[in-house]
């Protein structure tokens, strides 16, 4: 039995009203015969039968409006016997089969409106600045924006980073840029970014911090002799440099004079840990100041191992931001050929920086005799808001004590 359905004459035809049956049960139907008239949005259309057979039963009455696909009549094919007709269930068949070429792009359901979660005032910040702030885990509510409508922009983040710890942002940003940019492209050269960050931090330091300076020449003969002996026992990979000694000695001295292991933020705030920031100069210009954490508790070998780890990484711009943000005091060592003395500029908000000049042989008076000895000129630059010369002097005395007694380190 053939089910004759309400035809689909266009994607925009959804239903039709059967106006008139043109054939009656028992009529012989031939291809092309008009079976019925159907009213549509576009007007009356004659509905054509494409097969041959006998109209068995009409299932829809005249005047009835039915969806496309509804069975209108049953037609017995030519040659088939008449049979008991069981009308199909009243529900129309599905309007159309699933055709794969139907909408490829499905309409998205409207998303539920965003629930307001932030009760605080919205902080305007540029996407780049937000990315930088998140990378450095900065609290943007503490940053004053200078961009349009008071928005925080890159420069504000850089300024803030310089305040917290110099060059922090340069560490990971170049890699981030390379990862996120749609194509490989030259990011801002690291050295240039570092230069900017150093400039910002140092300018601010000189503007905001009233420095005072102390200087003391220290005898290095005992320290160097100790190092020489120590290195004899060590393989080339494990040998110590004088700077390891300096770091350890400074850490111990800070333990003795804790007012210099501090920050100046609404007054002097001592820090519990002694994390020594060590100035690493970069071959391309600029500096990085990674921290050696809890240096006072480390053995000399551990300090040296730490240097062996962080200096190459600093030079390859592979430091973690935490390594740049945690120092509580800074050492700069000018090294050979650099200068007899170095007067540091304090990294805000720290309150002091110690500088070691080149170790060199000098004529010195010792117990009434003039002799030649290796010496180093050590300077302290300290924040006069936080401490006075008395504290500074105590620190240098303590440092000297340790350098004259290296075994105690």
């Amino acid at each position: 039995m053939i089910s004759f359905k309400m035809p689909s004459l266009g994607a925009d035809m959804e239903d039709g009203t059967l106006v008139e049956w043109r054939k009656q049960p028992g009529d012989l139907l031939q291809r092309g015969d008009i079976l019925a008239d159907v009213d549509t949005q576009k007007g009356l259309i004659e509905i054509e039968f494409f097969g041959e057979g006998v109209l068995e039963k009409q299932l829809v009455e005249e005047g009835q409006k039915v969806p496309v696909g509804t069975v209108l009549a049953l037609i017995r094919p030519v040659g088939a016997e008449a049979e008991q007709v069981v009308p199909p269930a009243a529900a129309p068949e599905p309007k159309k089969e699933a055709i794969p070429m139907e909408p490829i792009l499905q309409e998205e359901k409207p998303a539920s409106p965003p629930v307001a979660t932030e009760k605080t005032k919205r902080i305007k910040i540029s996407p780049l600045a937000r990315k930088m702030a998140e990378m450095h885990q900065m609290d943007i509510s503490q940053i004053k924006g200078t961009g349009p409508e008071g928005a925080i922009v890159k420069a504000d983040i850089e300024k803030r980073l310089a305040e917290i710890v110099p060059e922090k942002e340069v560490v990971e940003k170049p890699r981030e840029v390379l990862q996120q940019a749609p194509v490989q492209q030259a990011a801002i050269p690291e050295s240039e970014a570092i230069r900017k960050a150093v400039a910002a931090a140092m300018s601010r330091s000189n503007q905001d911090i009233p420095h005072y300076y102390l200087e003391k020449r220290m005898d290095m003969s005992k320290a160097l002799a100790w190092l020489k002996e120590a290195n004899k026992e060590r393989s080339v990979q494990q040998r110590l440099l004088p700077v390891a000694l300096f770091i350890k000695a400074v850490a111990k001295a800070l333990d003795d004079v804790p007012d210099l292991n501090a920050v100046w933020e609404n007054g002097l705030q001592r820090k519990n840990e002694i994390n020594i920031g060590f100035v690493v100069s970069l071959r391309t210009g600029g500096i990085m100041v990674p921290a050696i954490l809890n240096a006072d508790t480390l053995s000399m070998d551990a300090v040296m191992a730490c240097l062996n780890d962080i200096i190459p990484r600093a030079r390859a711009f592979k430091l973690r931001s935490s390594e740049l943000s945690q120092s509580t005091f800074t050492i700069t060592s000018i090294g050979e050929g650099g200068g007899d003395k170095v007067f540091g500029v304090i990294y805000p908000p720290q309150v002091g920086i110690v500088g070691f000049g080149e170790i060199r042989d000098e004529a010195v008076v010792h117990e009434g005799m003039i002799g030649i000895k290796p010496v180093v000129d050590v300077t302290l630059a300290a924040d006069h808001r936080a401490t006075d010369g008395l504290i500074g002097g105590k620190f240098l005395a303590a440092l000297n004590k340790y350098l004259q007694n290296p075994a105690s380190l």
């Binding site: 540029s126 996407p127 780049l128 600045a129 937000r130 990315k131 961009g147 349009p148 922009v153 890159k154 840029v177 996120q180 940019a181 749609p182 194509v183 492209q185 030259a186 990011a187 801002i188």
Partner: protein
């Protein structure tokens, strides 16, 4: 390097194309006896004869369609539509035929036609002769849309376009025809897939095309004196848009100003801005800004005409405002 006008560069490319490939012919209104409405094809009729330099009647749809048909049948026609303003009469041919045939035929039919159009604003030609229809054309997949903003491209874009198996629309800027510029003596075909950084800088990306390119370059010079380091990106290819180049530029400078003569709404700059938002949002330190044609029919008086599209000083002022608020 040789010094050459934009017009001469265009002409030398047409001449070279005609010499190199006998399938190439130029057809357009007044290209022959008149010498081209802008004298770009002056002398070519004498050199190549009427079969290859064809004057056509004023029937843009007809002759553009004929160019498309000739391309379908194996020729390499260069159709010149005197100005972009008249190209509206040929849009059915370009959009419904040239752009669709390859796709509709399931990849069977290529339409290697090149359609050149004079365009641009600035010669006091008033509303009907001052259109910037680049955005219209750039909207349509299936065609390549090129914008000739430099002498190098005036010399090279046509040569490359004739190598394309698909339709290419070339926008040429009539206000630049007399401008002199330097190109290498052996300048030839250019890459017609990529945008180009015309000037490197790190403070802001000026993204533009067409006449915007020389204006942006001049503006960048002026700004450099104030210590502002501006990068100029010449989009060149408006469809398919080369987003890599301008996204990389924005990732470097973190600031973008897009400049174009076309009306701001639904324009090339709308598209570029949108792509930056979609793909380089987290590189942005300031909102993307645009300097576009004022939304008015282009008026006749010079001072009003000048005010209706971005000028060098407008670019300079806007950049200053962005970088030094």
């Amino acid at each position: 390097m040789i010094t050459i006008t934009y017009r001469e560069a265009l002409k030398s490319a047409i001449r070279e194309s005609l010499q190199k490939d006998e399938r190439v012919f130029l057809m357009g209104e007044d290209v022959g006896h008149y010498g081209g409405a802008f004298a770009v094809s002056k002398g070519l009729l004498k050199e190549f004869g009427p079969e290859r330099i064809m004057d056509v009647p004023l029937s843009e749809s007809g002759f553009t369609g004929a160019g498309i048909g000739a391309a379908l049948a194996g020729m390499r026609p260069i159709v010149e539509i005197m100005t972009v303003n008249f190209s509206l009469l040929a849009m059915d041919q370009i959009f419904n035929n040239a752009a669709t045939l390859l796709h509709m035929s399931g990849g069977q039919l290529n339409v290697p036609v090149v359609i050149r159009m004079g365009c641009g604003i600035g010669r006091q030609l008033a509303a009907q002769h001052s259109h910037s229809w680049e955005p219209f054309y750039a909207h349509v997949p299936g065609i390549h849309v090129l914008s000739v903003g430099t002498h190098e491209d005036a010399r090279g874009m046509l040569l490359s376009a004739l190598q394309s198996p698909d339709p290419v629309i070339i926008f040429e800027y009539t206000s630049m025809l007399n401008l002199e510029g330097e190109i290498p003596e052996d300048a030839g075909a250019v890459d017609i897939r990529k945008a180009k950084v015309r000037r490197e800088g790190k403070d802001l990306s000026l993204i533009t095309y067409g006449t915007g390119v020389y204006k942006a370059m001049e503006a960048a010079e002026i700004l450099a004196r104030d210590g502002m380091d501006i990068e100029v990106v010449d989009l060149r290819v408006l469809r398919p848009l080369d987003e890599e180049t301008f996204l990389a530029s924005v990732a470097k400078t973190h600031r973008a100003l897009i400049v174009e003569d076309a009306w701001k709404s639904v324009s090339i700059s709308s598209e570029v801005s949108s792509r930056i938002m979609e793909k380089a949002f987290f590189e942005l330190d300031l909102p993307v800004e645009r300097l576009c044609g004022v939304e008015v029919s282009i008026p006749y008086p010079k001072h009003l005409e000048d005010a209706s599209v971005p000028q060098v000083q407008d670019i300079v002022d806007r950049v200053r405002k962005i970088l030094k608020p």
